[in-house]
């Protein structure tokens, strides 16, 4: 209804309320665009004009490892998140409303709980002497504690935990928009449940999966808190490295260049997502 409704009947007398955008544009222009551009400038002027910062970043094996790590983690997190989120979203889309609202409550609670709180919980849960290792040992499954923290395992568990709601919620929307009649028709046509899943349900939900997956991937690429707390020093991720370059090493040139690379990659993927689903849906509804 939106296009119809927002036009109303009255033609706008002034080019409607462009002035209303002014505060937002000033805020974003002055305190977002300008600082980010200044950062970009710094990456090619600090300590001396030129591209040496980028050359250093792209030429060095240590940094290459960080880039590789970052993409690897983001990729693994995305795959795992999609695989876990799909069945849940599927059930959420069709289960009785009373049950669904309980599940939604749990998802919202997890999503709204302070990020550090959640990460702290995982730190305690996953540590060598933590609950999970003890439980596994107690059950006789392992006899040495598993290294669950300060490595990629820890980062992946923590990140999947954080990303799940961002994947589940939009997917529910996609799945709810599919007419159950289509699948009934498929069954009448003789499709087995597996065939109906592969040929009907999955293709129809693919746009939602792609959009959600891309969003999770983009968010994971630049994530800072969870990798910094659950990851190890030997497999640092990009955001953490940038923070360290600025905060501990005070190397503004290198840090800015790395930040700019992250910005370009993120924005390129964001643009791809926009093309995939359109601006309105890319960042999700309310």
């Amino acid at each position: 209804m939106s296009v119809e409704a927002q036009q109303g009947i009255a033609a706008p007398r002034v080019p409607a309320g462009l002035s209303g955008l002014l505060p937002a544009l000033i805020l974003i222009g002055l305190f977002f665009v300008v600082p980010v551009l200044a950062l970009l400038l710094r990456s090619v002027t600090d300590p001396a004009p030129g591209l040496q910062n980028y050359a250093a970043l792209l030429g060095d094996g240590t940094y290459a490892r960080v880039f590789f790590n970052t993409f690897l983690v983001a990729f693994v997190v995305t795959i795992v998140t999609v695989l876990v989120a799909f069945p849940v979203a599927w059930m959420l889309a069709i289960m009785p409303p009373a049950l669904a609202s309980i599940l939604f409550g749990i998802i919202i609670l997890s999503m709204w709980t302070n990020l550090l709180t959640r990460t702290y919980a995982w730190m305690v849960l996953l540590q060598r002497t933590g609950v999970i290792n003890r439980a596994l040992i107690g059950a006789g499954i392992i006899d040495q504690p598993l290294p669950l923290i300060n490595n990629l395992t820890g980062v992946t568990i923590g990140m999947v935990y954080i990303m799940l709601p961002f994947m589940i919620l939009p997917l529910v929307g996609t799945l709810r928009a599919i007419d159950p009649m289509t699948l009934r028709a498929a069954a009448l046509c003789g499709a087995s449940p597996l065939a109906a899943f592969r040929r009907i349900l999955l293709p129809l939900s693919l746009p939602g999966i792609a959009a959600g997956g891309l969003m999770v991937f983009v968010m994971s690429l630049g994530y800072f808190v969870t990798p910094a707390l659950l990851g190890g020093t030997s497999n640092m991720m990009l955001a953490e490295m940038i923070a360290q370059m600025i905060q501990s090493l005070l190397n503004w040139g290198l840090g800015s260049a790395a930040a700019f690379i992250l910005l370009v990659v993120t924005m390129a993927l964001y643009a791809l997502q926009l093309r995939l689903v359109g601006a309105r849906r890319a960042v999700g509804g309310a």
């Binding site: 209804m1 939106s2 927002q6 109303g8 009947i9 009255a10 706008p12 080019p15 309320g17 462009l18 955008l21 937002a24 544009l25 805020l27 665009v33 300008v34 980010v36 876990v84 069945p87 849940v88 059930m91 069709i94 009785p96 919202i108 609670l109 997890s110 709204w112 709980t113 302070n114 550090l116 709180t117 702290y120 919980a121 305690v124 002497t129 609950v131 799940l164 799945l175 159950p180 699948l183 009934r184 449940p193 899943f197 349900l201 630049g222 800072f224 808190v225 955001a239 940038i242 923070a243 600025i246 840090g255 930040a259 992250l262 910005l263 993120t266 601006a279 999700g284 509804g285 309310a286």
Partner: protein
């Protein structure tokens, strides 16, 4: 039949089982942290050897925790007010305006939500160092408002898109001035969106870690910065106590939201 809940057969049992596991996974850290905060072991042993309230006592005995919480509340409240006000004005223009480049502007205003926070954090940190705004309340509020703005615009713009402008026009023929019509008819009609915007932008600031880590000064620390600092030094159960209070706050917020929504919708 895959989308008919009652016709799934054994598949339903398998999927529901999996869903229950995921729900448990989502709930695990939240419940765990609350239990832990009442456990008596300083080394966070679980299940705890006994139950105690001493971590809460320690928490409340330390003025720096209280201070940090108050600072966060102050900054988040100002951020929410600013973001909702600016977002409201912007949403009207974005939804109702008919000018070229509208979609591009919308994209621009929503970008802070997509750009990795760490990039914005060092950019605004450097910028504020130059302006002398680093470590100030104003600096915090401005930076957080940038981050919160998308969270304010999205629900308000969505609500406004669903509101039939003819209703506002009807108020105008009835004799209300355009401003009166907006204030008395349109705003109350999209109040759910405005309310969501307020909650989301409050949370965006209240939970914000990365910018805060860079901007914080010894005299101005938000709650996440305080937790972050403690996490890096040791995993004291006091953090669990503080975290449990945050969980309680989240729950309270969820309940208020649900109640208000129900009330506003009828």
């Amino acid at each position: 039949m895959l989308l008919d809940y009652d016709r799934l057969g054994w598949l339903k049992i398998a999927l529901l089982g999996f869903t229950a596991l995921v729900a448990a996974f989502l709930l695990l850290p939240v419940v765990f942290i609350v239990l832990l905060s009442f456990g008596s072991s300083r080394w966070l042993a679980f299940p705890p050897p006994g139950w105690t309230l001493k971590w809460y006592q320690e928490l409340f005995a330390d003025p720096s925790w209280i201070e940090a919480a108050l600072t966060s509340a102050r900054i988040a409240t100002m951020t929410a007010i600013l973001a909702v006000t600016i977002g409201l004005l912007a949403s009207f223009a974005l939804v109702r305006g008919q000018f070229r480049g509208r979609e591009i502007l919308r994209g621009l205003l929503l970008t802070p939500m997509v750009l990795p926070v760490v990039v914005f954090a060092i950019a605004i940190y450097a910028f504020f160092l130059r302006l002398g705004l680093g470590g100030t309340t104003i600096g915090f509020v401005v930076a957080h408002t940038v981050l919160a703005l998308p969270f304010a615009i999205i629900p308000i713009a969505t609500a406004l898109e669903g509101f039939d402008k003819s209703i506002e026009d009807a108020a105008i023929v009835c004799g209300a001035s355009p401003l009166q019509a907006k204030l008395r008819i349109t705003l109350p009609s999209i109040r759910i969106g405005i309310f969501s915007a307020a909650i989301f932008s409050f949370l965006a600031s209240w939970d914000e870690v990365v910018v805060a880590i860079f901007m914080a000064s010894p005299t101005l620390q938000t709650l996440p910065v305080k937790i972050w600092g403690s996490l890096r030094s040791d995993l004291t159960p006091v953090i669990a106590a503080a975290s449990s209070l945050l969980v309680a706050l989240t729950l309270a917020l969820m309940i208020v939201t649900a109640l208000l929504r129900r009330k506003l919708q009828t």
